[in-house]
C-alpha cells in the first residue's frame, strides 16, 4: 500500500474514531509523562556530583531546591520511582482499552475496506498506522505532560514537599526514546488488536469471540506466584538496597497474578451469577462469563489498588500505635502515605474510566439485542441495573479483597501485634473502598444512560 493511500485510510475522520485517537493519545501522554518523571527522579543521584545522596530525614541540600525527602533520600527514592511506574500500568491499560473502542463503526469500516479490495494485511497495516500515529502523538505530548508534572509537583508545591526535580538536558533524550517506543508499541498494539477481528468483505462482521483464559494465562499466573513467593521469602532477609529489587520482584509478581487471575475470577463469578433466579443476575452473569477480559483487567488493577490501601491502612495504624519520636517524623510518614493514597485514587479513577469505555463499546456492539430486549418488554431501567451490576459485580469485591490481602501481607512483614492493631482500620478502609468503588460505578452507569438509550432505540432492530 502506498503512503498516500495509507494516510487517507488511517486518518480519523468519524467522531468515534477521533475520540478513540484522543483517548489513546491522552493516555500515552500521561503514561509517558509519568515515566519521564520516574526516570528524572531515578537520575537524581547524578546531580550529587558523585557525593552520597543519602540524607537524614528532613535534611535537604540547598541545591535540591526544596525537594521532598522521599526523592532526595537514596533509600526512599526507588519507592517514588516504582510508584510513578506503577501508576502508568492502568493508564496504559486504558490506552489499550481505547484501541478496542468504537468497534461497530470501526469494524464496518474495515469490512468496507475489504470489500473495496483491501487484503487482511492491508487492514492490519491501516490499524497499525492509526494506533502508531495516535501513540506517537501521545509520546510527543509526553514532554509537555512531564513539564506539567514538574510545574505541579515540583514548582508549585511548597519547599520540602517537591517530588519532581528540575528537568535537565538528558530529559530530551528520554523524551525522544519515549516517543520512539510509544510509536512502535502503539503500531504493534494496533495490529494485534486488529488481528483479533475478522474483517471480511461482507456487511456482517465476525469477531473472534471473547476467549476464556488460555495457556499463556496459566504460565503468567504460575510465574507471578513464583515471583511473589520468592520475593516475599527473601524480603525480610535482604541486605540494604536489595530490598527494593525484591520489592520490584514482588510487585511484578503481584501484577502478573492479578492480571492473570482477574479474568478467571470474573468468568467464574459470571458463571455463578447465571445460576441465580434474578433476570438481572442472569444477564450480568452471561456477559461476564462470555467476556471476562475487560472486567478482569480492571478488577486486577483494583486489587492492586486495594493492596496498596491495605498496606497503608495497616502501616498507618501500626505507626499511630507506636512511639516513633517527634512530630516531624510522624508528619513525614503520614505525608508519604497521603501521597501514595492520592496516587491510588488516580489509578482507581483511571480503572473505572476503562470500565466505562469498555461498557460504552459493548453497548454499541450489542445494540440490536438490547433493542430486541426492550421490544420484548424488558424495562430500560432493568437494563440500566444490569449495566450497573456489570460494572460493580467484580470491581467492588476486587478492591475489598486487595485491601484485606495487602493488610495481611503488611502484618506478616511488620511482625507480631500489627494485625491486631490494624484489623479494625483495615476493615474500615475495605468497607470505604468497596463502597466508593460501588458509588463510582453507579455514577458510571448514570453517565452511560444516554448511550443505553441510544442502544435501545427501536431503529437498531434494523441494524445488520
Amino acid at each position: 500500500m502506498r503512503a498516500h493511500t495509507l494516510r487517507l485510510l488511517a486518518q480519523p475522520t468519524a467522531a468515534a474514531e477521533r475520540g478513540r485517537f484522543l483517548l489513546v493519545t491522552g493516555s500515552i501522554a500521561v503514561a509517558g509523562g509519568l515515566l519521564l518523571v520516574g526516570q528524572r527522579v531515578a537520575r537524581l543521584y547524578m546531580d550529587t556530583d558523585g557525593a552520597s545522596s543519602t540524607y537524614s530525614y528532613g535534611g535537604l541540600a540547598p541545591s535540591y531546591g526544596g525537594l521532598a525527602p522521599y526523592v532526595t533520600q537514596a533509600g526512599l527514592r526507588p519507592g517514588v520511582v516504582i510508584g510513578a511506574v506503577l501508576v502508568t500500568v492502568p493508564v496504559l491499560a486504558l490506552a489499550l482499552q481505547a484501541l478496542r473502542v468504537g468497534s461497530l463503526a470501526r469494524e464496518r469500516r474495515m469490512a468496507s475496506l475489504r470489500l473495496a479490495g483491501a487484503t487482511a494485511r492491508d487492514v492490519r497495516t491501516v490499524a497499525a498506522a492509526e494506533a502508531g500515529v495516535a501513540a506517537a502523538a501521545g509520546g510527543l505530548l509526553a514532554g509537555p505532560a512531564y513539564l506539567l508534572c514538574w510545574l505541579m509537583l515540583g514548582v508549585l508545591m511548597p519547599a520540602g514537599l517537591r517530588l519532581v526535580p528540575t528537568p535537565g538536558p538528558l530529559d530530551l533524550l528520554a523524551w525522544a526514546a519515549t516517543l520512539l517506543v510509544a510509536a512502535a508499541a502503539g503500531a504493534i498494539a494496533g495490529a494485534v488488536v486488529q488481528k483479533r477481528v475478522v474483517a471480511e468483505p461482507l456487511s456482517v462482521r465476525r469477531r473472534i469471540g471473547p476467549q476464556p483464559p488460555g495457556r499463556a494465562n496459566v504460565v503468567g499466573l504460575v510465574a507471578g506466584l513464583l515471583l511473589v513467593v520468592f520475593g516475599f521469602g527473601q524480603l525480610t532477609e535482604a541486605p540494604g538496597g536489595g530490598e527494593y529489587l525484591l520489592l520490584v520482584v514482588v510487585l511484578v509478581g503481584l501484577l502478573l497474578v492479578a492480571f492473570t487471575i482477574g479474568p478467571r475470577l470474573v468468568r467464574r463469578l459470571g458463571g455463578r451469577l447465571q445460576l441465580r433466579e434474578s433476570a438481572v443476575d442472569v444477564l450480568v452473569g452471561a456477559r461476564l462469563h462470555v467476556d471476562p477480559q475487560t472486567a478482569g483487567r480492571v478488577a486486577a488493577v483494583l486489587v492492586v489498588c486495594g493492596l496498596a490501601l491495605g498496606v497503608e491502612a495497616l502501616m498507618v495504624s501500626d505507626l499511630l500505635g507506636r512511639d516513633i519520636g517527634n512530630g516531624d517524623d510522624l508528619s513525614f510518614y503520614l505525608t508519604g502515605f497521603g501521597m501514595a493514597a492520592v496516587g491510588v485514587l488516580l489509578v482507581v479513577v483511571v480503572a473505572v474510566l476503562t470500565l466505562l469505555i469498555g461498557a460504552a463499546d459493548q453497548l454499541l456492539d450489542a445494540r440490536r439485542p438490547l433493542a430486541s430486549l426492550v421490544a420484548l418488554g424488558v424495562d430500560e431501567q432493568i437494563l440500566e441495573k444490569v449495566l450497573r451490576r456489570q460494572q460493580s459485580a467484580a470491581a467492588a469485591p476486587a478492591v475489598v479483597l486487595g485491601v484485606l490481602v495487602g493488610a495481611a501481607g503488611a502484618a506478616y512483614l511488620s511482625g507480631d501485634g500489627a494485625l491486631a492493631v490494624g484489623l479494625l482500620p483495615t476493615l474500615l478502609v475495605a468497607a470505604v473502598a468497596g463502597g466508593a468503588v460501588g458509588l463510582v460505578t453507579r455514577l458510571a452507569a448514570v453517565l452511560l444512560r444516554p448511550r443505553l438509550r441510544a442502544a435501545t432505540d427501536p431503529e437498531n432492530l434494523r441494524v445488520a
Binding site: 468519524a14 463503526a105 464496518r108 479490495g117
Partner: protein, 230 residues
Amino acid sequence: MNGLTPEPVLELTGVMHAYRRTVALRGISMSVSPEEVVAVTGPSGCGKSTLLHAAAGIVRPQGGSVRLLGQDLGALDETARTVLRRRRVGIVLQFGQLVPDLSVLDNVALPLLLEGHDRATARTAATDWLCRSGLEAETAATPAELSGGQAQRAAVARALVTGPSVIFADEPTGSLDTTGGELLLDLLVGAARERGAALVLVTHDNMVAARADREIRLRDGVVEAVTVLR
C-alpha cells in the same frame, strides 16, 4: 474446451456449503460465459447469497470447486483471492457498503489506490465513473449524505472503476424503490454489456431477473431450473 465455446469466466462444480447445521448449498454446478448476464433467483434462504459469496471467493466452500477467471479459488489463499477480486472482479452488495468516513470520490478511487495507482490517476478514473453514475455533484459528500439509490450507484461505480471482467451483485436493488432500482439496473447492466463484462445478479425480484440473458433458479441449495431469456 473445444475451441468454439469460450472458456467460462466462472465455473462451479459440485459446490457445497453449510453454516453449522444449516446446509446452504448442496452440490451446485453452473457456469457463466464472458459477457453473459446471469440472474440467480429463488426464495429467501435458498442459498443465493452464499452462492455469490462462494463464486466471488469471499466464502471458501466446504465442498466442490470454483474456477473464477481461469483460477481455481480453492488453490488460492485469502490474500490471493482478495487481489484477484480487486483487480478483475467488481462486487455490489445490497446496502452499498461504502467506507463511511471517506468521501464518495475516495470510495470509488479506493480499489485503484489499493492497487498502487497514484492519487491523481485514481481520482480521475473515479470522477469519470461518478459522472457516468449521475453523481458528479456528490463527489465530496460522505456516504451518510447520500440517498440509498445514490449510495448504490456509488457502489456500482466503485465496482466498475477497475474495469472488471466479472461483476457480482447481491440484491443490488433490494433497498431501493422501483424508479431507483430501474436507474441502478440501467447503469449496472448497461456498463457490463458495454465493457463486455459478465454479470451475476442475485435477486428475488422478477423484474430484475428479466434483464438477464439466463436465469438460474435455486431452491433449498440446489439448482431447480435454468431458463434462457435471450
